[in-house]
């Protein structure tokens, strides 16, 4: 047959059409979960220890190919996209602590780990962290990866110059309440003008909420953000502003970095993982920091979970893998590699976690982090908590940054909450 130009064109077009149709047809046959020998695990950069992931691959390589994928960008939206689309769902998925409240009402997307014998591992983990993975129907959605106990990071040289306690044990003992902490802040400012113990008021509000046992919305879908427990935290943040111990610097900007380096912002109330951020942002200040207890008691920020999705074809094997990856020995490795603070108290006594940290002047930081992690209060975290806590956070920020009248700000916050609660179907 002679090849005409027209014939060629026709063949080309037919080919294109066939490819397009083929694409559509195969689109209908997208697998729900993993295929072949694969066991797909989704997590984010820094979410698990590289060493533990590598060891798990080798250890379980005889039966499955553990395919651990770091998902970049907005992790949660990518995970719920595959779950809602029922396509390419990973077998094992990391769930971030702050997203947990929104996964729990949809616990049916995940395997109830109680059915795989998780109950007998319960004593390994911190009880309050375990309870964060229990859905309203009682099922267990994930095993804890890590926790984020909040501590008081400070620069002892600055505290000493201001005549404040500066040894970790003294700071923990003498600045144990918010009031004493604020008084110390006043002294700091008086002795060293231009030095502030707090960067902004938001951290006071946030850590205070974390120290309590109730938040903004309760189990019965009722708004409780107008209650005395929130009001007390609000008043405390307003008090810090009133006493003039709060800087007007925006945290994370070059201003805050330089002020921290110079020692005019010598303290931070933040979670255990912030130690890594400090080391990264202020390498020149090695040895200039110490860790003490957070005033007002322990609280927690962050800390994640590993869950097994319903799309997993071998839940027993997956459970074997995650319970090994998250045992106390591997969690200790996670702390060494990625600063993931263990959710397994047995790790705290292990030698590699009790090494003196040169960044903190040779302090054994575990002496502060460990006891804090064990005493964190249990609070119900509603899926509506973010939406109904935000207006209050925004308004306390306005008080702190713009100097808005606190009474007016509280009123505005409550007006917003009332409106949003009605929209979301939460009783006000």
């Amino acid at each position: 047959m002679r090849l005409s130009r027209r014939g060629l064109l026709r063949a080309g077009l037919a080919g294109t059409a066939a490819t397009a149709l083929g694409g559509l047809a195969s689109g209908c046959a997208v697998p729900t979960g993993s295929t072949g020998r694969n066991m797909v695990l989704w997590y984010w950069s820094g979410g698990l220890s590289d060493t533990v992931v590598k060891n798990a691959k080798a250890r379980y390589g005889g039966s499955v190919d553990l395919d651990a994928i770091q998902i970049g960008g907005y992790y949660r939206s990518k995970l719920i996209t595959t779950l809602a689309g029922r396509a390419h769902i990973p077998d094992i998925a990391g769930l971030r602590g702050e997203d947990m409240a929104s996964y729990l009402p949809n616990a049916d997307q995940f395997v109830d780990l109680r059915t795989l014998g998780a109950e007998k591992l319960r004593s390994r983990y911190l009880d309050w962290k375990w309870q964060q993975a229990v859905a309203p129907d009682g099922s267990l959605v994930g095993l804890p990866i890590d926790v984020g106990p909040v501590v008081h990071y400070y620069q002892p040289a600055v505290y000493e110059k201001a005549g404040l306690p500066h040894e970790p044990a003294d700071v923990s003992r003498e600045l144990d309440t918010w009031d004493k902490f604020f008084t110390a802040g006043e002294r700091l400012k008086k002795r060293l003008p231009g030095t502030y113990i707090l960067t902004d008021v938001v951290s006071v509000f946030e850590m205070s909420i974390g120290q309590g046992t109730s938040r903004f919305v309760d189990e019965d879908r009722r708004f409780i953000g107008d209650g005395p427990h929130v009001r007390a935290c609000w008043d405390r943040a307003v008090e810090a502003k009133r006493r003039g111990i709060v800087s007007d610097i925006v945290s994370g900007t070059p201003d805050s970095i330089s002020a921290t380096e110079k020692g005019t912002l010598p303290s931070q109330l933040n979670a255990s993982w912030a130690a890594g951020d400090l080391k990264l942002a202020y390498p020149k200040t090695e040895g200039h920091w110490r860790v003490a207890d957070c005033p007002g008691g322990p609280s927690n920020v962050g800390g994640s979970f590993l869950a097994i999705t319903k799309a997993c074809r071998e839940p027993e094997r997956a459970f074997e893998i995650i319970s090994w990856m998250l045992d106390s020995r591997n969690q200790a490795q996670g702390f060494v590699d990625a600063g993931l603070f263990p959710s397994t108290p047995a790790s705290y006594a292990m030698p590699k976690l009790r090494e003196p940290d040169p960044f903190f002047g040779g302090q054994i930081t575990m002496d502060v982090f460990g006891p804090a992690a064990e005493k964190i209060p249990v609070a119900f975290n509603s899926p509506y908590d973010i939406a109904l806590g935000q207006p209050i956070r925004d308004e306390i920020k306005n008080v702190g940054v713009l100097g808005k009248d606190p009474a007016k700000a509280w009123e505005d916050a409550m007006d917003s909450c009332r409106r949003i609660a009605k929209h979301l179907g939460v009783a006000f």
Binding site: T16, Y74, I80, E206, T253, A271, A387
Partner: protein
């Protein structure tokens, strides 16, 4: 499908008369097949998601569980939601603060580039560069430029004897900072567009003007500007559509401590634009139904302002 319907008659003429007459799509199937990739892709990634968002806006959905019919209640709430109205206001103010200086600067730049200067292509390249730089990188740099104690802007203010301004901590400062960033990013791009417009203006018009004794200013307002109107319309419409959808600029510029929402737009929500509000509702609050309704609200605002722009420039053209 307008293109598909217009194509067949043109093909009839080149088809040999001996071909057996067939009817409808079967006769022209290969032509439809040839244009199909665009339509299939548009269907999958354009039309279906758009349709789905309309469907979604009539429901309550947390992104995972079952959807619950909500009728028009999401829209009802949208129209009474003061936060949404504030975000429209913020967007428009930032848009105006960014667009008008930007158009002026772009025009000046284009006129300068159009005159005979050396290294013209190098300048064009340099002016275009901001537009292909990642917004995230730009926003991080601008965050430093506008920082209170060590920022370049405050250093300049102090050099001329003015007080420091806490740019990223005051409602107006935030808006100005975001607008400046957008101006910097888009001036070069629009200058290139204006330059293309300038080069379509016939040289003999300028020659005639010069013979008649018109100065450069007169030439600009009597010849350049009127003949540049279509280009100006294009630039205005594109700036409106992109400016009203600003998101990354405020998001990255106002990103602070990691345990805070990155979508709240700074103190007094001064930098919370419409799209930022949409993101907050959808991905912070997991309110996908309301998020979809907000997206349609944004669509209406963009359509409205595109129409206004179009009418404004069109009117002047008729006179």
């Amino acid at each position: 499908m307008a293109v598909a319907e217009q194509t067949p008659p043109a093909v009839d003429r080149i088809r040999p008369a001996t071909a057996p007459p067939r009817t409808g799509w079967r006769r022209h199937w290969h032509l439809y097949a040839a244009i199909s990739p665009f339509y299939l892709l548009f269907l999958a990634f354009g039309l279906i998601p758009v349709g789905f968002s309309l469907y979604l806006s009539l429901h309550r959905w947390d992104g995972l569980g079952s959807m619950e019919w909500a009728g028009l209640t999401q829209y009802q709430y949208l129209f009474t939601d003061v936060d949404f109205w504030q975000s429209i206001g913020n967007t428009l103010i930032i848009w105006a603060l960014a667009t008008f200086p930007m158009i002026f600067l772009a025009m000046v730049t284009a006129v300068m580039l159009n005159s005979a200067v050396r290294f013209r292509n190098a300048y064009r390249f340099a002016y275009f560069l901001p537009n292909v730089t990642s917004v995230v990188a730009i926003a991080i740099v601008f965050g430093s430029v506008f920082s209170t104690n060590f920022g370049l802007v405050n250093a300049l203010l102090q050099a001329v004897g003015l007080d420091q301004v806490a740019w990223l901590n005051t409602p107006w400062g935030i808006k100005v900072a975001i607008a400046t960033l957008m101006t910097w990013q888009w001036t070069g791009y629009n200058a290139i567009i204006f330059l293309a417009g300038l080069q379509t203006i016939p040289g003999d018009l300028y020659e005639a003007a010069r013979i008649d004794g018109a100065g450069p200013v007169q030439t600009f307002f009597r010849i350049t500007l009127p003949l540049l109107r279509p280009t100006l319309l294009f630039v205005l419409v594109v700036s409106t559509v992109t400016g009203l959808q600003s998101f990354s600029e405020p998001q990255v510029l106002l990103q602070t401590a990691s345990n805070e929402s990155t979508f709240s737009g700074g103190p007094d929500h001064a930098g919370r634009t419409m799209v930022l509000y949409f993101f907050q509702q959808t991905f912070d609050n997991n309110d996908f139904g309301y998020g979809a309704a907000v997206a349609w609200g944004i669509f209406l605002v963009v359509v409205l302002f595109s129409l206004i722009n179009w009418r404004l420039v069109q009117r002047r053209g008729e006179q």
